[in-house]
């Protein structure tokens, strides 16, 4: 997982609330055998609509999604996070996230920045008036800036620390690799192995 301190990228205004994970990526895309390549299934049902925001070339290269409340509800599928990140998103801004989605995001390095709905409305207006404009998200200071807008956001301390350090669960565990190796030294000699007999 890459460390995250400050990110600047094109902001994408997604004026929808209750975006569930089935909308983020439909089940038919889950048969893939990789963790990559899910960008083609991202918002699949909406991509066919030419007025959908990502079909506007000004927003197509976006990396900061500004969405309505209750983003990421429904199925726990990790593919939803993979799809957003595969597409190029590093940050989702919303006034409220579903718990499981937020947890999955933290595991994969996608920042879920929670700010007030008033600030989301300001960001939507700004991005719609200036398609392709950038947003800067400073995780260290927990501040979003876009043009004249300066907004603070919430993220829990533990997730913030992990993102700043670039530590996924595996990296965190591997910090204690010495403990794992020491434990392995205490396993009995007769402990089973899968090496064919």
């Amino acid at each position: 997982m890459d460390a995250f301190s400050t990110h600047t990228g094109i902001g994408v205004p997604l004026r929808r609330s209750n975006v569930d994970t089935d909308q983020i990526i439909p089940a038919e895309y889950l048969k893939r055998v990789t963790k990559s390549g899910f960008e083609d299934g991202l918002f699949a049902a909406w991509r066919g609509d030419e007025t959908f925001v990502l079909n506007n070339p000004a927003y197509a290269a976006g990396s900061v999604l500004v969405a309505g409340p209750d983003f990421g509800t429904g199925s726990s599928r990790e593919h939803a996070v993979w799809a957003l990140m595969n597409y190029g998103f590093r940050v989702v801004i919303s006034s409220r996230f579903a718990d499981i989605f937020r947890g999955n995001s933290g595991k994969q390095g996608l920042l879920t920045a929670q700010c007030s709905q008033d600030d989301v409305e300001l960001l939507w207006k700004y991005l719609e008036n200036a398609p392709g404009a950038s947003i800067t998200v400073d995780l260290r200071e927990r501040v979003i800036t876009a043009g004249e807008i300066v907004a603070t956001f919430e993220v829990d301390d533990y997730t913030r620390w992990r993102l700043l350090e670039g530590l996924d669960d595996i990296s965190l565990t591997l910090r204690h690799e010495g403990d794992i190796t020491a434990f392995e030294g205490t396993r009995p000699g007769w402990a089973a192995t899968t090496t064919p007999a």
Binding site: K31, V33, E78, A197
Partner: protein, 468 residues
């Protein structure tokens, strides 16, 4: 401090315990199959990480494999299997592929190799990993991110589970099997009753069961919502393991058994919850609905939702009867089935097949019924053939297939068609589980065989004696 069996196994595997953090638990055995592992391997590849302990990792092909001769024809299934082969090759993991003498359902293969042993921690990206708890192992299913975590670190960060004792005392009546016991337990505590718990099955009726029967019980712990089920190891466990390929031998065996004998719940230990059942009160049990908790004795009738006090339960029962095409009040023995499926990680082992063959011998599957007998592994199939069971199945008009998960979850071509009704020795009667629109009744091997002969849900006691 007095400890339960589950707590003993947990505590013996804590690599690291930090304030306000989950425990980091060492994993002794990690089993893999083709469906939930591809993204985990892809994650390792993207991060440039190796598999930490390939010699504690084992893969088999089971979910997607056809049970008839020939290659996989579905391209998506084939891709998953081919991906597993490439990943195992690249990361140095032992794989038992289709056609190999050791191939089979992952939860049948581990125990029969002697890899599943008392006191171990065992994980797999599959909820029925609870099967291995029959040996006194702490075994549970995990998600794809966790599969990657175990591949990379051989550990998992986990918050402790609560403990539940399910005690079944007394003697099981003739014709009542482990499957009936666990279906009755699930009907009693509900599909969410075990949420957050590790269940330990105890009592004289459990102690009297063979290892294979114990596996059937632990297998379905997940259907009660529990993460794992366990049974303390005893002489039956040790006798099952002795001499198996991966079991300790010689002096190692003696040391191992000595260590395993300590794996019992201390007399003064307490459980967070306790459930008691009387073995003598149990009878052949079948499900009538669309979750494993919607079951009743075979001698009963389809229940009437109007009689149910709880509104949620009533609504669920109404929906289930509509889906199942059943009318309240119909005796379960009059429910006619189209298909009988014998197999799965629940009831696809040699004892299950012997039971089925004993009922089918000298009898014939009803005209209206197709019967599939799918061994849980290649070794089970070979053993069944050596004992002449394959001939019994075929003489009775059943289809004797190659090993795999098959119609338990219908990821391969073995499926029900819409409204087709099955009696199945598998573990889930969810809507569409055995094929879109398919209707599943979960049953024991005894009931499956008798149902195949009579064409309606039946127990062997309902059959006319075989003429000499």
């Amino acid at each position: 401090m007095a400890k339960t069996l589950a707590e003993k196994v947990w505590d013996a595997h804590v690599v690291r315990r930090g304030e306000g953090e989950p425990d980091l638990l060492y994993i002794d055995l990690h089993l893999l199959h083709e469906v939930t592992s591809p993204q985990a391997f892809d994650g390792l590849r993207l991060a440039g990480r190796p598999v930490r302990r390939p010699e504690l990792t084992l893969a088999t092909e089971d979910h997607n494999v056809p049970t008839t001769e020939g290659p996989i024809t579905d391209p998506v299934s084939r891709t998953q299997v081919e991906t597993l082969r490439r990943n195992c090759e690249e990361f140095g993991v032992t794989l038992y592929p289709m056609g190999d003498a050791e191939q089979g359902i992952v939860h049948v293969v581990g125990p029969q190799l002697g890899l599943t042993q008392p006191g171990m921690t065992i994980v797999c990206g599959d909820s029925h990993t609870s099967t291995h708890g029959a040996f006194g192992a702490l075994a549970f299913g995990i998600g794809t991110s966790e599969v990657e975590h175990v591949l990379a670190t051989q550990t998992l960060p986990l918050k402790p589970f609560k403990t539940m004792a399910v005690t079944v005392d007394g003697e099981l009546p003739a014709g009542v099997s482990a499957k009936d016991v666990v279906l009755a337990v699930i009907a009693k505590i509900g599909t969410g009753g075990g949420q957050g718990y590790v269940i330990e099955y105890r009592g004289s009726a459990i102690r009297a069961l063979s290892m294979e029967a114990r596996m059937t019980i632990c297998n379905m712990s997940i259907e009660a919502g529990a993460r794992a089920g366990m049974i303390a190891p005893d002489e039956i466990t040790f006798e099952y393991l002795r001499g198996r390929d991966h079991a300790p031998a010689g002096q190692d065996w003696d040391q191992a058994v000595e260590s395993w004998r300590g794996l019992t719940t201390d007399a003064d230990a307490t459980f967070d919850a306790e459930v008691v059942m009387d073995a003598a009160s149990l009878s052949p049990f079948v499900t009538w609905g669309t979750n494993p908790g919607q079951g009743a004795p075979l001698s009963a009738a389809v229940p009437d939702p109007e009689q149910m006090a709880d509104d949620n339960e009533k609504a669920a029962a109404q929906r289930a009867l509509e889906y199942m095409g059943l009318t309240a009040g119909t005796p379960l023995r009059e429910v006619a089935v189209d298909t009988v499926f014998v197999g799965s990680c629940t009831n696809g082992r040699i004892e299950d097949l012997r039971t089925v063959a004993e009922v089918l011998k000298g009898r014939h599957v009803a005209e209206s019924v197709r019967m599939l007998v799918v061994p849980g592994s290649a070794r089970v199939r070979l053993q069944a053939e050596a004992e002449g069971l394959g001939e019994v199945f075929e003489a009775a008009g059943a289809q004797w297939r190659l090993p795999g998960c098959s119609m338990c979850l219908a990821m391969n071509p073995d499926k029900l068609v819409p409204t087709e009704r099955s009696a199945s020795t598998s573990n889930r009667n969810f809507e569409g589980r055995q094929g879109p629109g398919g209707r599943t009744h979960l049953v024991s091997p005894e009931v499956a065989a008798a149902t195949a002969v009579r064409g309606t849900l039946s127990s062997p006691a309902d059959l006319a004696p075989v003429e000499a």
